[in-house]
Symmetry: C2
Subunit: 361 residues, 2 copies
């Protein structure tokens, strides 16, 4: 089977062995005569997978004691609302560091739930080409929390150094860069991530949260939205998205086999470096709009001199077997999403293509 | 491959051809060189499946004009909160017909959101053996809506005739019996159902809602929870659970091939009749606690004279290759879940087993 070179921004490519295992087991898992999809979420076979998935999350990210891992539904977009519902109390305000479309959406939902403000924004003419410097942050020392988006999928920027937010809990939407490298979880109050980029299929949200915050969360909101409900039931309060958790488990096993997040980081850095070198090597043709210090290792965006050339680039790339390169509809251009599962060979193919594109001599 | 006879209450057995197709296509759908799980939710291949799934829902249920079909996440349990968040305004009250555990949970969440009351309950000593009669309903003519649970998975009761609620919108949790037969959707204001019983995998909720209610819904709640958000974006406001929608599509295609919901109903009635006959045929050994008029066609519950005999029954059945028969932990006994995808041959096997169990002559 020929694998298409898939640079989709999410849902995105997954490790082939994780998918092959799913295919092999799809009609009959562990000799049970049933698909994992047909197993009860309260049965032994699913529960073991569920617990293995929770445990692998803790292991790969070295989640410290005092933090819980939750499997939820509704995507990161739902967390935009659920975080303030739990953690933003009447009389409190939350700070948002606005670095892109998703950060703005998170702020918008928080403002519906309670009081929230932008403590920084790098928006200029509707675009974002960098994350803010520490000196630009106008932080409220009494804020309920500070919210950041660690990687901005659409604009291709990423926080390489976390902002210093003092004693205020740091809440991070890491949907597009969770597990791209080892992480010091202790620096965060809460991390959330839709699985469909680095971790697995869509339909699953992973939350890592400090138990103190769970315990202090509001208890007058619907039960289903309280983090404590899911923390206290091992994420089995209601029927979980069983197949998504199963496939997430398969993906995490591949990361572990690859050597853990240290090895994953090395590969990711090498892939991104190759691409930025290819862009910078032909300044006549390719231009990365993002400031160097803010360049994302997950989503590399660049432009060509004209929209016509961009269209031609995308078309030729597709003919060469590379898909998912079109920039987000709000910004255009080219976007190369190289999440954990994208092999370096794919990046090498693209880089070779970029070196030759419109080469006349 | 030997298929286990699977009477799981949900997640539950699925039509084998729907799973076989998923297995066949799992690494490469439509020659794209990618799994459906790796396709963008904004790409042509997924969008066609998404639209086909929406269209099949409308077709099988003959959804009338003026109603929208939505694909959401978070299970029916999340709808327990989201329905009142949208439809229960300050100063209004909602009526609940309490017929089981899930109906109670729905009422509990609604009370957190606004004002809600039980307009009827058939609970006696913590158990429910029937749905209420029309004469027992103490309906508030000014209620924002009346909420029912059409099939009670745990207690094995089902509404065979809908309650007359006058001009008040009827909201139904149909998680465990949607599409078990043709439905007059026009009688409802809103229907919701977790997919993991009759329709497909867990992780997908199908909502069918009158546009009038969507339009009149609250607009001061988080965007992600407003029905209009999803109605106005063809359920693509954010990344949907793509594989769950794909598999749901496969399952609905099988229902259509089987002759539509009229044919599905015939089979379901035949299966349930076989089982109730088997129970009633040996009153010394089996006792169905549910009143005849309220007996469910989806979840058939019964008891044996002692807990020991029940344990022996479950153990022997499992040895005979039949799983998922244990009653819910809150009620014990035996529960046979025979959703759409359970073949009548499985029911015949169980009925034969029941006829012979503890037969001494």
């Amino acid at each position: 089977m020929a694998r298409t070179i898939n640079f989709n921004p999410g849902p995105a490519t997954l490790p082939l062995p994780a998918l092959e295992r799913a295919q092999r087991e799809l009609l009959d898992i562990e000799g049970s005569g049933m698909s994992i999809i047909e197993h009860s979420h309260r049965g032994k076979i699913f529960e073991a997978i569920h617990n293995e998935a929770l445990e692998l999350t803790r292991e790969l990210l070295a989640v410290p004691k005092g933090y819980s891992v939750l499997f939820l539904q509704g995507g990161a977009s739902q967390q935009f609302a659920v975080v303030p519902m739990n953690l933003l109390k009447p009389g409190q305000s939350a700070d948002f560091l606005v670095t892109g479309v998703w950060a703005k959406s998170a702020l918008k939902e928080a403002k519906i739930v309670g009081t929230a403000r932008a403590a920084a924004t790098t928006e200029v003419d509707g675009k974002f080409v960098r994350v803010p410097k520490q000196s630009e942050l106008e932080l409220d020392p009494n804020a309920a929390y500070v919210h950041i988006t660690t990687n901005n999928t659409i604009f291709g920027t990423q926080w390489h150094t976390l902002p210093d937010v003092g004693r205020v809990p740091l809440i991070a939407d890491m949907s597009s860069d969770i597990m791209w490298r080892p992480l010091d979880v202790a620096k965060f109050g809460l991390i959330y991530a839709g699985a469909q980029k680095n971790l697995g299929p869509s339909g699953l949200v992973v939350v890592i949260v400090k138990d103190e915050l769970v315990d202090a969360g509001r208890s007058d909101i619907p039960t289903i939205f309280q983090y404590r409900t899911h923390r206290d039931t091992n994420s089995l309060y209601h029927t979980p998205p069983t197949f998504s958790i199963y496939l997430y488990r398969n993906v995490l096993l591949e990361m572990k086999r690859a050597g853990g997040l240290g090895a994953v980081e090395k590969l990711n850095r090498a892939k991104a470096e190759l691409l930025y070198q290819a862009i910078d090597a032909r300044p006549d043709l390719y231009r990365a709009p993002v400031e160097k210090a803010s360049r994302s290792t997950m989503n590399i965006v660049f432009n060509l001199p004209t929209e016509e050339l961009e269209k031609e680039f995308l078309k030729s790339a597709e003919q060469a077997g590379m898909v998912g390169l079109k920039g987000h509809r709000s910004v255009g251009g080219v976007r190369v999403s190289i999440y954990n599962a994208a092999p370096i060979a794919w990046v090498e193919s693209l880089v070779a293509f970029m070196a030759e594109f419109k080469r006349t001599t």
